[in-house]
């Protein structure tokens, strides 16, 4: 811990530095996904013909993926609870469980996309599909990035080090889940 500057240990704003930074990351991500989804909603409301394009998305796979992400959010918050009780190894186990959820999500999405591309719905077949792949793709990239960082945090947590990071990655993970909570109805339910 010695190479960390004194600055990081202060909390004039009344909360630990790490959590303050993660909330600012969440704010900057809100406007990124916000911009993308706002553009998508505008186009979606403008083109009523996108309804039948959207009909080809498989709601069941989307629902399952939502379930997977919700459960991974649960294990992430349980990991945070374990970490706040000082139980590093248990937190690490729960984090690995969350990463398992992330991997499941991405593989399911991979199969889903492969199937849809097979049927001919590629990114250029219509602007709906362009938005579909861009938004879900950007979200999947955030899921993968979150899983990688969570792996690093889990390795450290297993040795009872940097336990406060479990909560930080948890907040980021819940945000990624939140984005999917809005993406799911937008892409799958609105038919």
């Amino acid at each position: 811990m010695s190479d960390r500057p004194i600055a990081t240990t202060r909390s004039a704003a009344g909360m630990p530095t790490g959590k303050l930074a993660v909330w600012w990351v969440v704010v900057s991500e809100i406007v990124i996904f916000g911009g993308l989804l706002a553009s998508y909603i505008m186009h979606r409301l403008a083109h009523s013909d996108w309804g039948e394009q959207a009909a080809h998305t498989n709601t069941w796979i989307g629902a399952f993926n939502t379930l997977v992400l919700l459960s991974s959010s649960l294990s992430a918050v349980l990991a945070h609870k374990a970490a706040s009780e000082g139980n590093g190894p248990k937190a690490a186990k729960l984090l690995w469980l969350t990463i398992l959820g992330a991997v499941t999500f991405v593989t399911v999405k991979g199969f889903e996309w492969a199937h849809e591309i097979e049927l001919g719905y590629t990114i250029t077949s219509s602007t709906f599909w362009s938005f579909y792949y861009t938004a879900a793709g950007l979200h999947a990239a955030h899921v993968i990035a979150g899983a990688i960082i969570m792996g690093i945090v889990a390795v450290a947590a297993a040795k009872n080090r940097e336990l406060h990071r479990v909560e930080l990655i948890g907040i980021y993970w819940h945000f990624v889940d939140l984005v999917w909570i809005f993406l799911f109805p937008l892409l799958y339910i609105a038919k």
């Binding site: 704003a13 009344g14 909360m15 959590k19 909330w23 600012w24 969440v26 704010v27 809100i30 406007v31 916000g34 911009g35 706002a38 553009s39 909603i41 505008m42 186009h43 409301l45 403008a46 709601t59 629902a63 939502t66 379930l67 997977v68 919700l70 459960s71 959010s73 649960l74 294990s75 992430a76 918050v77 349980l78 609870k81 374990a82 706040s84 009780e85 248990k90 186990k93 729960l94 469980l97 398992l100 959820g101 499941t104 948890g170 907040i171 819940h174 945000f175 889940d177 939140l178 909570i181 809005f182 799911f184 109805p185 339910i189 609105a190 038919k191």
Partner: protein, 119 residues
Amino acid sequence: MSEQSQAISETGDGHGEGHVETNYVKIWAWLVGLLAVSVAGPFLEIFWLTMVTAFGIACVKAWMVAKHFMHITLEPRFVGYIVMTSLVFMLLFFAAVAPDVMNAEGTQWVKPSWLGQPE
């Protein structure tokens, strides 16, 4: 996958210190229930009902995740304010851009290809 996490949380259901004791699994169960409702919504074929179940429930689920999992209500107040401000900016962006991107016509301009008119 979800059953496994349930088993773990059953055993390690210690008392969370500090913030109020929230049974995370109960919250998770609510979320899954709401998900089921929003998936079932379209089968009733009522358009506005599907909209309510889809997006209304999405907002409720979002608030539950933010409150119970992210503990946003327990953070210092400015965290909630900055998140709210960024959402308001997105609303502002939507409100000002929609008249141009969504409409097929407006004051003195029209998108011919949208109205099926010849170029």
